[in-house]
Symmetry: C2
Subunit: 201 residues, 2 copies
Amino acid sequence: MTGPGAARPGGRTARTRAAVRQATLAELGEKGYEGLTVEAVALRSGVHKTTVYRRWGSVAGLAADALAIAGDEAWPIPDTGTLEGDLRELARLVVTGFTDPEAGPIATAFVLASARDPVAAKALHAFFAARHEQSAVLVTRAAGRGELPAGTDAAEVVRCAVAPIYYRLFVTGEPISEAVADRAAAAAVAAARAGVFQTPP
Amino acid sequence: MTGPGAARPGGRTARTRAAVRQATLAELGEKGYEGLTVEAVALRSGVHKTTVYRRWGSVAGLAADALAIAGDEAWPIPDTGTLEGDLRELARLVVTGFTDPEAGPIATAFVLASARDPVAAKALHAFFAARHEQSAVLVTRAAGRGELPAGTDAAEVVRCAVAPIYYRLFVTGEPISEAVADRAAAAAVAAARAGVFQTPP
């Protein structure tokens, strides 16, 4: 495999990739996806423009690679002792991620990038698949405590616990808050307990 | 009030507005929001370009006005006799609206427009506020049948029943289907019955 994904950790290629990624995140945070340019990322990272073009291709490639690295990072998986507590923390993390003055604009830019470009959309899809998979442990633990019916689909529980936050953010344009997160988490727990997310045997 | 909203039904202004709106929808369906131009809408509607610019201002104004008219239209409110049946129909309508070969690209274009332009975002916000309000009757009926606890927030029930569809469409890039709609509806019912959406007294 060639391209940014082939970077060896610690090598010169990996350092270049990290620098370009940092510059991409900073530019996305300041100017959004619409304001992202290969030139500005090259200037900010100190990597030559032709190198950035050759290896990342476009702003969509830059956003996709920054997302790919984010997807590889471990997610802080809550362990509060109850499913509702865990999902509430998870949903609050989403709210914090989008309302934080520094991280918020970057997270928003990633979603908007995926709305405009198939390369970024594929990266965002992979990012969420990884997040859903990592969160399966919450549901496994809850099932082990007898909180949930057997065969509950973990990803479905997580989708239900976060979807209302994204719906407000990117569709209806309604405000989000900790209360919104808590209600979404409570809804996911009630639905999961009622067996709504059981997979057919 | 001036601008497109001041059109009297049946008058020349109203006919112009309807023609421009039809042309906007057709262009959105064929070319998406990114491909929408004032010139093409003017040409297609037979309304002079300078008139379109004067009254709608920009492509965002065109999309916002088309949405405003859509928000005024009555939504087919299901009446199946059970809350789950009603919400299932509602959620399936959303899935159909986005997967339909003709209506789907237009609905998608509206959401993407709102991601890029504050004028369109405001119109989409008003559109969903109207939809949520119209759907309150489902919950009132269900409460009347004794299916739901008193003080259940109707808009919250509806948000929960449709949010997972939008989350898959515009965030994770996962497929939607009737099964996705049915599960979201079932989750909303379970959560509503458990009292998750009761407003504080």
